[in-house]
């Protein structure tokens, strides 16, 4: 059988087209990866890509987006220092003036020099627009606090007077925190979400996205260039590229080899040893406001008994968990004794120190027997024919959490409790089991700040029920006046001193009610190459380590 010439040429044509296609595919991909390696370029590894850049929308809600692009490009009224203090940012001319009373009023004096990247001044109208967008705009992530605002006086363009209808104690996060002041002159009357979600060309901060939307190369990087019209400390670097390196081990390699100059990787065992191998690298371990804890479902047997809950805490060797899980990765760590983290020393109260840090089995025996429990022949506590057995859940595939669970299971077994591990995927845990209360104990992280306060996760008003469509973040499901009173007060108390008293009282109440077992603050590692960059580099647990990127310089 002969293959005809016609067929042969058809064949060659096909191969040729395929080759062309492949070359095209590789060159277009290569082109997009072809970053401009101009002098004056700083490369930083970003562990997560933001889902969208419409910061006040629900599509956002990712820290990395805020750290890498949000705070660099948009103004906030108050900014948070590494020590956790709220101070006025460069947008304000001084401290905002708070009038406690009826009604609560805050006066923001806007810096006369503050302008947007197109030289339009930042005015009180921008405050008003931001407030109106958040309360009435499309797809808003968090309206808390803004809904308590009655009006904003914009008669003086450089003075915004915010009047509240209800007192709101977390006011320092308004026009800041995880939202920003938006440019009304560019967005008024337009579709804010559509304009911002894929990147935007305007700026009110030291940086702007290079080329607007094209500064965010999806799946690859975010590129920032200085905002020439920034009135504050102008950036000292020509271009900053945040590269998405989602894999921790590769991130560490990239910074170790100098491919990137800085990173903020998730801690993992051996990471610090790796980083120490390069003498040019400096790293800072910090403990932020995110903490890990065991959460007990007070509506599930046997957690409905206070004595059992307390016994569980006494049975848990929290120090061992810190030693096995946290110390191997960052060489340090300590047991967390409250749900407010010690990063806020003015509010922190080590309420859980009453339980010690290691296991106290005699206390367990004391409490359980007093509650009517008896150990069966299998060494498991039993009462009224029911054994003290329950399940613990966490996000499947998260190694540190799985190890923590297995440690806890062993510890509790020694104390007479039978724990079964049943891990669903993250979306099932957070989407179904948590809200619907289909768990006895769960291991996951929460944020421990006084602002927003812990009422969201501990007050009885926030228990998800069938009636409210399973909405609410208090998955421990305990209704307790001892907890509700101080924490509800915290949300409305404006007087600093009174507030501090309530916060401390609230922490003690949480320790007494034992609905949750705080373990440790999650560590962060901030690493940078001292041979490549200089400046006041330090981690900021709230705003991320790049909060003062405009003060960094290349060596």
């Amino acid at each position: 059988m002969k293959v005809s010439g016609g067929v042969r040429s058809f064949f060659c044509l096909v191969l040729g087209l395929a080759l062309l296609g492949g070359v095209w595919a590789s060159t277009t991909a290569g082109a997009s990866a072809r970053e401009q390696s101009t002098p004056g370029t700083l490369k930083i590894a970003a562990e997560q890509e933001p889902s969208c850049m419409d910061w006040i929308g629900s599509c956002a809600g990712s820290s990395w987006g805020i750290w890498a692009a949000g705070i660099e490009t948009l103004p906030q009224a108050l900014t948070v220092t590494p020590a956790g203090d709220y101070i006025p940012s460069s947008v304000l001319a001084g401290e905002p003036i708070l009038e406690i009373g009826s009604p609560q009023k805050i006066t923001y004096n806007i810096n006369a020099a503050a302008v947007w990247s197109d030289n339009t001044p930042i005015t009180s109208t921008d405050f008003e627009y931001t407030w109106k967008q958040i309360t009435t705009g499309k797809d808003i992530y968090d309206k808390t606090g803004y809904e308590d605002i009655a009006s904003i006086d914009t008669t003086d363009p450089k003075v915004a007077v915010v009047t509240f209808s209800e007192p709101f104690s977390g006011w320092r996060d308004l026009f800041g925190g995880f939202s920003f002041i938006l440019p009304s002159h560019l967005l008024e009357g337009k579709n804010r979400a559509k304009i911002m979600k894929d990147g935007y060309s305007f700026s009110g901060g030291p940086w702007k996205l290079e080329g607007g939307k094209s500064g965010w190369k999806k799946t690859k990087s975010i590129t920032l260039v200085p905002n020439q019209n920034y009135w504050g400390d102008k950036p000292l670097i020509g271009t900053v590229i945040f590269q998405f390196i989602t894999e921790s081990a590769s991130e560490i390699q990239a910074v170790k080899s100098g491919q990137v100059s800085s990173a903020y990787p998730q801690p993992q065992i051996g990471a610090l040893d790796q980083l120490s191998e390069n003498p040019e690298l400096k790293y800072e371990v910090s403990f932020g406001s995110v903490f890990e804890a065991f959460w007990l479902n007070a509506k599930a047997f046997p957690m409905d008994s206070l004595a059992v809950r307390k016994s569980l805490i006494y049975a848990t060797d929290r120090q061992a968990i810190v030693d096995e899980i946290v110390k191997p990765s960052v060489n340090e760590g300590r047991v967390l004794q409250s749900f407010i983290v010690p990063t806020f020393p003015q509010y922190y109260e080590p309420a859980f120190s009453i339980y010690g840090t290691s296991a106290n089995l005699s206390k367990v025996n004391e409490l359980m027997t007093a509650d009517g429990w008896k150990k069966g022949s299998d060494e498991i506590w039993a009462k009224g024919g029911r054994k003290a057995e329950f399940d613990v859940q966490t996000t499947a595939g998260n190694e540190a959490r799985e190890l923590t669970e297995q440690l806890w299971q062993s510890q509790l077994a020694q104390a007479g409790f039978k724990v079964t591990i049943k891990n669903p995927s993250a979306d099932v845990l957070f989407g179904i089991n948590g809200p619907k209360g289909r768990f006895s104990a769960a291991l996951y992280a929460q944020v421990g700040t006084p602002d927003p306060s812990l009422c969201g996760i501990f007050c009885s008003a926030n228990i998800p029920t069938k009636k409210n469509g399973f909405v609410g973040n208090n998955w421990t499901r305990l209704t307790s006046a001892a907890i509700d009173t101080p924490w509800t007060a915290v949300d409305s108390e404006l007087d600093r001193t009174a507030r501090t008293i309530s916060v401390k009282e609230g922490q003690n109440a949480l320790a007494a009610e034992a609905v949750s077992i705080p373990l440790y603050q999650k560590p962060n590692i901030f690493v940078w190459n001292t041979a490549q960059i200089g400046g006041p580099l330090q981690d900021n647990p709230t705003l991320g380590p790049f909060f003062n990127l405009n003060l960094w310089y290349l060596k």
Binding site: G22, A33, F244, P452
Partner: protein, 321 residues
Amino acid sequence: MTRYVGRRILAAIPVLLLASLLVFVLVRQFGADPARTRCQQSRDLKCLARTRVQLGLDRPLPVQYVDFMGDFVQGDWGTSERTDQSVAESIGIALGETAQLAFWGVAFSSVVAISVGVYSANKAYSPGDYFFTGLAFAGIAMPTFWFGLICINYLTFHLKELLNTNEVIFFSIPNATGHGAINGFRELALPVLVLSVQLVAGWSRYQRSSMLDELDSDYIRTARSKGLTRRRVVWKHGLRNSLGALVTVIAIDAGALFGGLIVTERVFSRPGMGTLFLNALGNGDSAVLIPWMIVTGVFIIIFNLFADILYGVLDPRVRVA
């Protein structure tokens, strides 16, 4: 021919529709609630209800499906339920990424597979042949995810230590810092290697078998008996005629790669179709998953069709009907 193509395409449409319906129902029933994922860390308790209405998740399932498919067939692929990013854009970017890996994987594997197959057929039952047969078996039994991690462990990290270089030689993640052909090679070397293990294993065996069939056939024996040298016979006739069958196999396997690189992309952190699928699945994002299924299905159908046509063209004995 046109009728045949047309009929195949028409037959494919109900299959794709059924697949999309299946995916939609499964994801809605058992997948995550994208509205919950978005509002998860918000202290605003009304965020969930607002977002559900916004995304249209409060409507009855049939309404959601029909509405979605209606827009889809008219070209409006909408936005991701989790990220609000344009689905068409996301799939486009992911396709480009996967196509790049698939192209180089197929190109490299074809060359290696043909060489190995021809050699094995030529020197059938020799020690060399047995060696390659063993490798092929190893390739088929190889767990992709494990092989990928092993390659990274030794060829990325250990090699760097061994040669005492500053940077790694072969990247284990997409190289975002460099440009040019050399960096492209360093970036694709390991993923292509991992991908080619399975492809080469199957293709080389097929090529060997199909070439042995050719070499055994009457016309070859006739040519040999007429005095043509073995070399001429093997290369000119045996290869060319058996190549046709292999090309169709390559086409079919290539078509399956667009949805079939989930593990490789995961291990090498490549933002292609596989990663897009895993993320969307974790988010319960049916707005991305349905177009994903349809696009990968279309690629499989197109490449299969192409393979059928090619085979018909190359081997007139097969009726393309």
